[in-house]
Symmetry: C2
Subunit: 715 residues, 2 copies
């Protein structure tokens, strides 16, 4: 790849970033965009829509950067829970790691690479076309003793990253414990979810649950709520809400009111009849909902799952940890999620159904991964100008224009790939949701892992092994030759991944700030929505399953390429700095947490880093062998082993804390509560905490009681 | 291999078996051999040594066969615990499985194999030298539709074995639960072992344990016993026992008394002074033991581990299942073993030490496996006559004698291999013992798994891939070509493994009955031991880690070869019938259980069968591809997937029962005890159940109080 192509790409993306930043600085001050840029503040009532116009609104300002910079960890914790803190830790961790790597990479490895003469010796004619490769390890002469510099760098950076990982894991897990200690009594600490309850023909599920737990835990069992099949009610309620919105719109349509005083009475009548039609339909649905709700309360609609609450955290934990029944596939217990976090629709209830759905999802997931490779192959084809000219001969004239060819080779491929990848997170989230998880947070964690593996496989490996499914599988299944194959393929793609960081990383960070899609969506829908904008709008929650894999994948690129092509590091550092400021700003202004896993995302980050390190070691083994320095190659082999041992130690030392709280902490918290007078009230609320929202009366948004809905009056 | 060579081998082994059976029938009736053949009955006092001679003692009888045959499951349970029942279930399971396989194999597959003409077509000259191969799948013509018979057999037998496995697992796990229900209150149900206790400079471990558990479980915590470092005392006590034996021998030596009344007074004085020397030494050691014992009672010798007892089974289980401390590497809990089952010597105490020793053992284990291949290669060389003649030219004249060459090819190789393999179980048991397990049973379970893998790797795979380490590793690491390589190698070794079953299986079963080594040992030592034979002798316990892998390996051979060379099946059936009778006899007469794991060996059996099935499927995929019936090859692929899914289901359905008892059962048993008056007594005993035997006074065997040992008077 040409240096000029890279510079073009960097130029375009820097310009885009500056544009987004400037636009954001201006647009966020416009009251009409508050919903897009400061929904959180709007919901909290901190920011009011000021219609008063002043000039200041049109001048870009940087105040928000300073505000985001000054945000302390404690403020972040109170704003976004421990998950937000963990997310930001992931970025600061990457910053620390790559700052260290960049010092070594730029000051030591880069000069060594340039010093070499491997590439200039062989094909001096191609020098211009390969100019970026001069900065990579490919330029170091075979058998050169300078490779020991790379070898030392691999060891030093691995040591540093592992040390950092250990302290981060320690920090996050201690934060998790102190977060638990500082928490108020919360329903999900006192509750477990039991599923695969054995049915009996004589009594209802509710009775079975009552008998079982009352028999086993007479002194600590408090109450239970049987889960009911409410998929249909959920559907109907959503329908009702949509209709309700339509009716209110029809009623208060300003355009309608403007023109109706004229002789457009025919139109008016039509609209009126439409409105009446909708009102009728809405009433029908509400009637239906009430009917279904009363049906659902009957025993027949009981699912084989229940939330069981206990009088103390410790006894709930006991019931969770111990196998309850003689048959381990009955009475399976899980920790209950927060009430707001429960994912009601697809409540899978029996052991077998859950297991089978899991297997099916795994199958679908792998099929999806395989099918996805086809567009990637196409994208890979685009990076090769010659191939493009052969495929589309009519493009030849355009492709000879220098700027076009540079855009195509430097920018277009990864942009197209990026667009395709946009489809992946929703697809994976959907797959996770039908896998049998009971909470939004579990679904998101599972989707995060899926998207991460998907990205690593489809972007990293598919790019390396030129995209055909068979060649990737061939390379991975041939265990012995993996290092050799990687050693050939990885440096060859250095320039692609440098461009990838610039286009994918920078642009995605900037567009995260600018919130391109919500902005466009809001611009389109604003003219049609009612003028009273204070009504319903949801404060979004940060889509972890989209953002975490993106950040982690950049981490993987950085770790694997830091000693091969250190030129990637400055671009990565820019990306992480952007991400640091932008996500902090978004936590302040945009996102409100929908649930709180208390840091359960960290193990994913940790595992991803370990995987990246081991991958880097395997590549190093291959590279040193390829460069005919077999001593270094052999001496690198202990490194992945040591890294995996370190990981194993961390798993034992920290992971249990992320699965469940220890007895010590639970008992301590329980003791504290014994003297708390508010506990009686809490127990009363606990009994009702896990009511399916579908069984509650329909509740439209609070400040629009204009419609005399029969259900609204009940609420 | 020649049919005649196989027949020679069968002949020799049948003769050996008959010889062993006859000898056993006679020798077991001689009072001097009671210690070898009926130690269990002797210890129970059922069998008395009758010195009266009668002719009947010299006539072989078969009464013991009938007795072993009639033994019911309930009697076996009371004799050898659930472990004995599980061991016999393994053999009956194999019998059922291979009877079914033999019906299909002999009646259907064998004729199909013989019908083929692949081998006769190609090299008719070699027919005589390859005659055994005519009965294998190698003789079926390539692309022949008859291979669908093999294909169906693979499916049918897999289905049958899986069904059988499911019902066996179900049976064993239900037996385990009912065994628990019928058990009396036992110390290990009420106790957990805590290790990695954090030390504090101000207080002793005992105080730390007391405070911690009293704080967390004030209502259920009962008592604790801190483990002490007693390795030295164990050593000294053993020394003392040896010396004591010597001294008693010197005192009551009949030869000495006979001759001393003559003028051998010089000899007598010498002997006397030797005796006095030993007595002095013994007293010194006893003094030393007492000193060390009082030292060990001090805080300084406390290990960072303790047995903690609770008032109920449920609370002990709770403490076991929950992570106790905020730091998961502190206060690690395990279920306590039975008091008699505790392995005191190598009590590893801290998390790190235990982890590191585990890693070291894994490393040593693999090194051992690799080094072991060298004798196997040598043994393989012996099966090849030509190679032998080249290596040792002076043997040529002997090797040309037909009977010698037949013995060498048919019998010697596997006998030598067998002798080498005898060294493996003790070595593996030693490795397991330093791995950090706290009980004899855990050590034995771990050793069983190690020996099993060792056998599969070193006997099966090394034989297949002609023994060189590199070729085996090459074959296994090349994932894609494994089926192809197996398909070539496995049928080629059919005759070797048929011989292996005959020599290894039959002879080992017969020698198990005859107890060759204990018999030789007893014959040698008898003249030197004291005449009063009623004194100390230990009833042996069955060495599961030797016998289970042997039986399971025969199972593996049967499963992998049943459709390739069905000729192996009759020999296997004979082996399992022998094993059935012989082991039942040994359970009645010889072995007494040293501990009771309540059936924890069954999951090993199950996993081994699943592994054998999947291996067989992989071979089948390769064979069908090799035989140019790619349709069958493709259609076999779902089979291992289904088998693994079935295994996964079994893991979820049954395995938890073998890890710990469910809450339901624990609480039920606890309730029963509440009305039991003897529980107060039991709690009192519980406090002292886990005292290290090293800290008890030296206790010599009960019925020889002739020596006035100062410690003996204390006991």
């Amino acid at each position: 790849m040409l240096v000029s192509a890279l510079l073009t790409s960097v130029g375009i993306n820097t310009a885009l970033c500056v544009l987004f930043f400037t636009l954001y600085s201006i647009l966020r001050k416009q009251p009409s965009n508050y919903e897009v840029y400061v929904p959180r503040l709007l919901a909290e009532g901190t920011s009011k829509r000021r219609s008063r116009f002043n000039l200041e609104r049109l001048i870009p300002s940087t105040g928000w950067v300073a505000k985001a910079w000054r945000l302390s960890d404690e403020e972040l914790l109170s704003l976004s829970g421990l998950d937000g803190v963990v997310f930001m830790r992931m970025i600061t961790f990457s910053l620390k790691m790559f700052t260290f790597a960049a010092i070594i990479g730029i000051l030591v490895i880069l000069p060594v690479n340039c010093w070499g003469s491997q590439l200039t010796d062989i094909d001096i004619g191609d020098f211009v076309n390969n100019s970026l490769d001069v900065f990579t390890i490919s330029n170091v002469n075979s058998g050169s003793q300078w490779l020991w510099v790379h070898f030392s760098a691999v060891y030093i950076v691995t040591g540093f990253v592992c040390m950092l990982l250990f302290y981060e894991y320690k920090f996050v897990s201690s934060r998790r414990i102190s977060y638990f200690y500082s928490s108020k009594p919360q329903p999900h600490h006192f509750t477990i979810l039991v599923h695969s309850i054995p049915t009996s023909s004589s009594s209802s599920i509710s009775d079975v649950v009552q008998n079982f737990f009352h028999e086993l835990y007479p002194s600590t069992y408090l109450s239970h709520v049987v889960v009911r099949r409410t998929g249909k009610i959920h559907f109907l309620k959503n329908e009702a809400k949509k209709l309700y919105k339509r009716v209110t719109q029809l009623r208060s349509d300003p355009t309608q009111q403007k023109y109706s005083h004229q002789d457009f009475s025919a139109v008016f009548r039509l609209k009126n009849s439409v409105r009446e039609h909708y009102e009728k339909k809405l009433e029908d649905i509400e009637e239906n909902v009430r009917l279904k709700q009363s049906e659902a309360s009957l025993a027949g609609e009981e699912a084989r799952a229940a939330f069981v609450s206990f009088k103390s955290r410790f006894s709930a934990a006991t019931a969770f940890h111990l196998q309850q029944s003689v048959n381990p596939t009955h009475w399976i217990t899980e920790l209950a999620p927060e009430p707001r976090d429960v994912y009601w629709p697809f409540f899978s209830e029996s052991f077998m159904r859950r297991w089978i759905s899991k297997l099916v999802v795994v199958l679908v997931c792998s099929t999806f991964t395989v099918v996805f490779l086809i567009p990637v192959v196409f994208v890979q084809g685009l990076t090769n100008l010659n191939q493009l000219e052969i495929l589309f001969p009519f493009l030849t004239s355009i492709l000879t224009i220098k700027i076009v060819s540079q855009i195509i080779t430097g920018y277009l491929p990864s942009l197209i790939l990026q667009l395709f990848l946009k489809l992946v997170p929703p697809a994976m989230a959907f797959l996770s949701s039908i896998q049998g998880y009971i909470s939004h947070s579990d679904i998101e964690i599972s989707a995060t892992i899926k998207v991460l593996w998907f990205t690593i496989w489809n972007v990293f490996f598919a790019t390396l092994f030129s995209g055909s499914i068979l060649s990737v599988l061939n390379a991975v299944l041939d265990l012995k030759n993996i290092p050799g194959k990687l050693a050939v393929a990885v440096p060859a793609q250095a320039s692609f991944f440098i461009t990838y960081v610039v286009t994918q990383g920078w642009t995605s960070a900037a567009s995260e700030l600018f919130r391109v899609i919500p902005f466009i969506f809001s611009s389109i829908t604003r003219p049609f929505s009612s003028t009273d904008e204070d009504d319903e709008f949801e404060v979004p929650s940060i889509p972890y399953h989209k953002d975490i894999p993106r950040v982690l994948f950049c981490g993987l690129l950085g770790i694997t390429y830091f000693f091969l092509a250190p030129l990637i590091l400055p671009f990565l550092l820019v990306y992480f700095c952007l991400a640091y400021i932008i996500y902090r700003n978004q936590f302040i202004n945009v996102y409100a947490p929908k649930y709180d896993t208390a840091g359960k995302f960290w193990p994913i980050v940790h595992n991803s880093m370990i995987f990246s390190l081991v991958l880097m070691h395997i590549i190093a083994v291959g590279i040193f062998a390829l460069k005919k320095l077999s001593m270094a190659s052999t001496l690198t082999i202990p490194l992945p082993v040591l890294t995996l041992l370190f990981n194993e130690y961390c798993r034992k030392r920290f992971l249990p804390i992320f699965v469940a709280y220890p007895a010590e902490s639970l008992i301590k918290k329980d003791r504290e509560d014994q003297n708390d007078a508010t506990m009686t009230q809490f127990y009363e609320n606990l009994t009702n905490a896990y009511k399916d929202p579908a069984l509650l009366p329909i509740h439209y948004s609070p400040n629009d009681g204009s419609l005399n809905s029969p259900l609204l009056s009940q609420a």
